[in-house]
Symmetry: C2
């Protein structure tokens, strides 16, 4: 495979559109390939029902090729689309599919009014906490030192963030755009209504918050990572735009970007004792106690509404951009529930919880639940080597390579019309079964058998989900989130 990649790398310079076509193809390949590791996925079944093993290898090969391509693309090497045979046909098939959802902007984008939603830095947070307790700045310094934290470190990160926000606002105003800066605590539906576009100035958490109040699939949301050294920023623009935001604005103006519609999860809730009112985990920085208290208060205020319509499933007032996590609120308690995939049979399960994610979320919590560490991969290969007597390499480089390929296969595209469910630490014994630890689905139904559980959306909004409640989790075109791809 690598030889083929090398050959294609050495050919003549393509035009920009050809390069873009290649990037989309490589991206499309990733969309094809990830299916291959789950033979039960609908698309896999449709395409190659009878030649499983062979095709899985083929697709994995195509995946590794696309990775090699993407790597070279990111290093700026010119490549010619010299593909042959079956790759081509799949390429074109998916290229068409992709172009429907990630499209080149028609003309530029220049919003008149932009809301900039800023995160709360750790410094601000600690300050608020201790001021509330009546302590001075000096006291704060000492307390932090006692705990092993650095006051000056926190202040530095705070200043970096604030300075970056300042640059963003300045760049926007220079373009003649009306700017409204709101702290995350002040961000509400009115802000969304007012703005033509919304910028999240913080990390991924801020981006999730910003997205959570946007229901209009035509309202663009952009994320800028205001502290790249401390935050991953998967959902944010590439890091260099943090210090060069005016460059990003120019590209937007000229149309040198693509729209990306990210799928989001919706949830219907029905059954006994349900409570469709969300509890915001971040906003209030709730402890466990406050968390359950908040749930209880909302139950009491909502009880009349629930009783009036006992049969109709409630559509919950949030959308998951990353994932839904279902499980006992107390981290050390095992979760009991029943699960049905794509209207299949119900299965009783006991585990540490259930994660259902989108393509966007496949890089987040779900990724961490399912990824393998090199130690584990090495051990599997070692055992395989022992049992077969084959000369399987066990050097560091090979282990890293296999681990990387495995983990990358967990990721799929944000526009993909499918959910990925994974059971966290499934407990399989005489009593509980687990036919599939993970897989793709269009729809997942869960019936709670839990004691004190919740359904958590994007790690930020929580719904009570106790014994007798039934959740139906799915995707809907209406819930798409409009974001930007800037290279």
């Amino acid at each position: 495979m690598d030889t083929l990649a090398q050959k294609t790398l050495s050919k003549a310079t393509p035009t920009e559109s050809a390069l873009r076509a290649l990037k989309m193809a490589a991206y499309a390949k990733r969309q094809v390939s990830v299916d291959c590791l789950d033979s039960r996925s609908p698309s896999f079944r449709c395409l190659r029902a009878d030649r499983r093993g062979c095709d899985r290898s083929l697709r994995l090969e195509s995946r590794m090729l696309s990775r090699a391509l993407r790597k070279s693309l990111s290093y700026g090497n010119p490549i010619v689309a010299g593909f042959t045979g079956s790759y081509c046909s799949r390429l074109y098939f998916h290229q068409t599919a992709v172009s429907k959802v990630a499209s080149q902007a028609e003309g530029g984008f220049k919003p008149g009014k932009v809301a900039v939603v800023t995160k709360t830095t750790r410094y601000e947070f600690e300050q608020q906490r201790y001021r509330y307790a009546g302590l001075s700045e000096e006291d704060l310094k000492q307390l932090l030192a006692l705990k092993g934290s650095s006051y000056s470190g926190l202040l530095e990160r705070h200043n970096i963030h604030t300075s970056n926000v300042g640059q963003i606002v300045e760049s926007l105003q220079k373009e003649g755009i009306e700017v409204r800066t709101v702290k995350r605590g002040e961000y509400d539906e009115d802000t969304v209504q007012w703005a033509d576009a919304i910028i999240s100035a913080g990390g991924d958490g801020t981006m999730l918050l910003v997205a959570s109040k946007v229901y209009d699939k035509n309202k663009p949301v952009l994320g800028v990572n205001t502290d790249p050294e401390r935050s991953e920023g998967h959902l944010c623009l590439p890091v260099h735009y943090t210090h060069a935001f005016s460059e990003a604005l120019q590209k937007l103006r000229k149309g040198e970007f693509r729209w990306q519609w990210r799928q989001r999860i919706r949830m219907y809730l029905e059954g006994t004792g349900i409570n469709p009112t969300p509890v915001d985990l971040h906003e209030l920085q709730l402890s466990l106690e406050q968390h359950s208290k908040a749930h209880r208060i909302t139950t009491e205020t909502q009880s009349s509404t629930t009783h009036n319509n006992p049969e109709r499933p409630h559509l919950l007032p949030v959308r998951g951009l990353n994932e839904i996590f279902i499980g006992e609120s107390l981290s050390s308690r095992a979760s009991y529930y029943e699960i049905s995939i794509d209207d299949g049979p119900w299965e009783k399960q006991k585990s540490s919880g259930l994660s259902i994610c989108t393509g966007t979320g496949s890089k987040a919590w779900s990724y961490n639940i399912n990824k393998l560490v090199e130690q584990a991969v090495e051990d599997v290969l070692r055992i395989g080597k022992l049992k077969t007597g084959l000369d399987v390499p066990l050097n560091q480089e090979f282990i890293e390579s296999v681990t990387e390929t495995y983990n990358e296969s967990l990721i799929f595209g944000p526009e993909e019309d499918k959910l990925f469910f994974s059971v966290r630490e499934p407990i399989v014994n005489r009593v509980f079964s687990n036919s599939r630890q993970r897989g793709f689905a269009k729809k997942v139904c869960v019936r709670s058998r839990c004691w004190d559980a919740c359904m958590v959306v994007d790690g930020g909004t929580s719904f009570e989900f106790n014994d007798g409640a039934i959740a139906t989790i799915s995707l809907n075109e209406e819930d798409l989130l409009r974001t930007v791809i800037l290279d």
Copy 2:
């Protein structure tokens, strides 16, 4: 390897003691072999520092042989100890080590006073819950049906448990033993003081509770699984004794059993804002709210004590038989902490929590955190096959075999003087590192950087563990729990 196993299987009948020696050797082998998959483990380093790869294979082979042996032993086949060469020397070495901790009883064991601690069945639990709410039995039936539960099913399990407890008590009384039956809610230190031995009549949870109040390493604890169809009973006697408890008593009387001293974990707590008073999770069936409330109450009552001795680490008044779990109480929140293994350098980590277990606990939560499902093993092997071009088998049988071997290697002996730590869903990025996802250690220190976290012992007792608290986790000979091995 299988050929050698086969050859040894076909030889003449050994005496009982030889058979026992073989069993202990096979068990000892398991103790050797599990090290081999962690090259950083101290014992591995000492034994074979310079011939890593070769010996890991050798040890894995010995492990597979011992498994084959154990399987045949359990089917009652006679085996002769026909081992050769290096296996023998390791066998003898470990046989000596093992015999120090799992020893044949010298004469019989016939306690004069036995306390039988019984679990609360789900039926009793639901009854209490609804009676408290002022509902009748009929109301209970209907409510359960609404939730999709079966009243008659719960009652049936309750009756099975009660009947088995009855048999146990009867068998004891027939032997002239004085019996005190206590519900788990009534079980206390006085009961432990009074009894010569304690029997747990329930599942593993009840056994953990029973053990939690025993500090005397000479006081035997036995577990009887009173509902084998619904409960795994890892910590309990083999299932056939549930319906034939008098047989178990006879063997005990005659000395036809072995003592087993199980290692237990102790924790020291120090640092800022610590709270050394435990909160019992099971007893009160706490919701999150009550959990944190309980922590808060204990903080208020204990605050004076903490201030008097700010420097001295507190030895917590519990011992972990299975494991200690450290992490945010709220299951959807990421945990931040620093960890130091065996007085090594501190490492900042972000994850879903940290598990530290004993050999006993290596079959429990830790097992579920670390085990691999066949789906994952198949994918790793498939990727390995693709990258090497080797003819790695990918049929169901082979995948199952590799998965089984991998998962079994996570288990180690209850008497082994070592802890096994594993980081659950480590988050590795530009900001957080994770040099080792898991491994063996004698001592683990953790400094909390959490918001609302706890240290949970055996899933039943919880200690606050917030930002600034430091825990030192280790094993101590004084904390051993005396249990029984009955075949």
